[in-house]
């Protein structure tokens, strides 16, 4: 059990029971606000939960379920996922999808299918095709497999900056919404990291005593400058 005491502006002390800070931090990371609920800090728990989760899910909806994905593939290192993962469990399906699709397997929760380049053996039709209603693969020869967009799954197939690929199709179909969705989910992850710190260490309140110390330090610096 860890308890902290903070002197407020009005002179009254504020007691905060952080319980087990490590456990609280873990809960706060896994589900935004859960760490604060564990500590009995319900108002802040609700606030973190509503703010972080609404940003995350609005972003995910704007990005049509594709903006949160984990990939270290060649030409598609998704660094944004490291920040999105700050939101905890809501970002976890991306990891599962990444493991599932490694080696070219189909993702869970297929959203749409695209015909791959040269699917009909026609050398004039190289590009990845726009999405098709399911099941598209059944209409192709048995040896041809479609590229499948999955919920929170990395883009299927090779990512080639010199040619059209699935990631390029996402940008082309969603335009600026892909970026807005990415920003929302990244900011949600970053904000939850702040909430995790709050659950672990309590709020970073600037107390009157700290303010006095800062003023004293400033005055001392000024005196030193004046002497030199």
């Amino acid at each position: 059990m860890v308890q902290i005491e903070i002197d407020l502006e009005d002179g009254h002390p504020l007691h905060i029971d952080l319980r087990n800070p490590y456990r609280a931090a873990l809960f706060a990371w896994l589900w935004p606000g859960a760490g604060h609920f564990y500590q009995g800090r319900f108002t802040k728990g609700f606030l973190f939960m509503i703010c972080v989760l609404s940003l995350f899910f609005i972003g995910l909806a704007i990005g049509r379920g594709r903006v949160v994905y984990a990939s270290t593939a060649r030409n598609d290192f998704r660094w944004q996922y490291f920040l999105q993962a700050g939101a905890g469990l809501p970002a976890a399906p991306a990891l599962i999808q990444s493991i599932k699709t490694r080696g070219g397997s189909d993702p869970f929760f297929v959203l749409c299918e695209r015909y791959p380049p040269n699917y009909g053996g026609d050398s004039g039709n190289w590009d990845v095709q726009p999405f098709h209603r399911l099941p598209a693969e059944a209409r192709l020869p048995s040896h041809v497999r479609t590229l499948k967009d999955g919920f929170m799954a990395p883009p299927a197939g090779e990512i080639d900056p010199d040619n059209n690929d699935v990631l390029g199709m996402w940008h082309s179909e969603m335009r600026h919404w892909f970026d807005i969705g990415t920003v929302f989910t990244v900011v949600a992850g970053i904000l939850n990291i702040l909430a995790v710190y709050d659950a672990f260490n309590g709020p970073l309140i600037v107390t009157p005593a700290m303010r006095r110390q800062m003023a004293e330090r400033r005055a001392a610096r000024k005196r030193k400058k004046g002497e030199s």
Partner: protein, 69 residues
Amino acid sequence: MIGAGTWLLLASWMDARMWWALPLLVATSLVYSATRHELTRDILIGAARVFVMGVIFMALIFGLLWLVR
């Protein structure tokens, strides 16, 4: 008379994409303030202050981009 620049500025404000910054700013202000205060009243006052600063900062950046465009 309202100049063409002002009309363009108004048109930009009405651009739907810009309004997506609002929920982002509200959530950021609330969470930032909540990590610096414990009492609800202090959190809300702090969040309002951060929100206003954010709006001013964004307006300055907008103005700067407007000038250099």
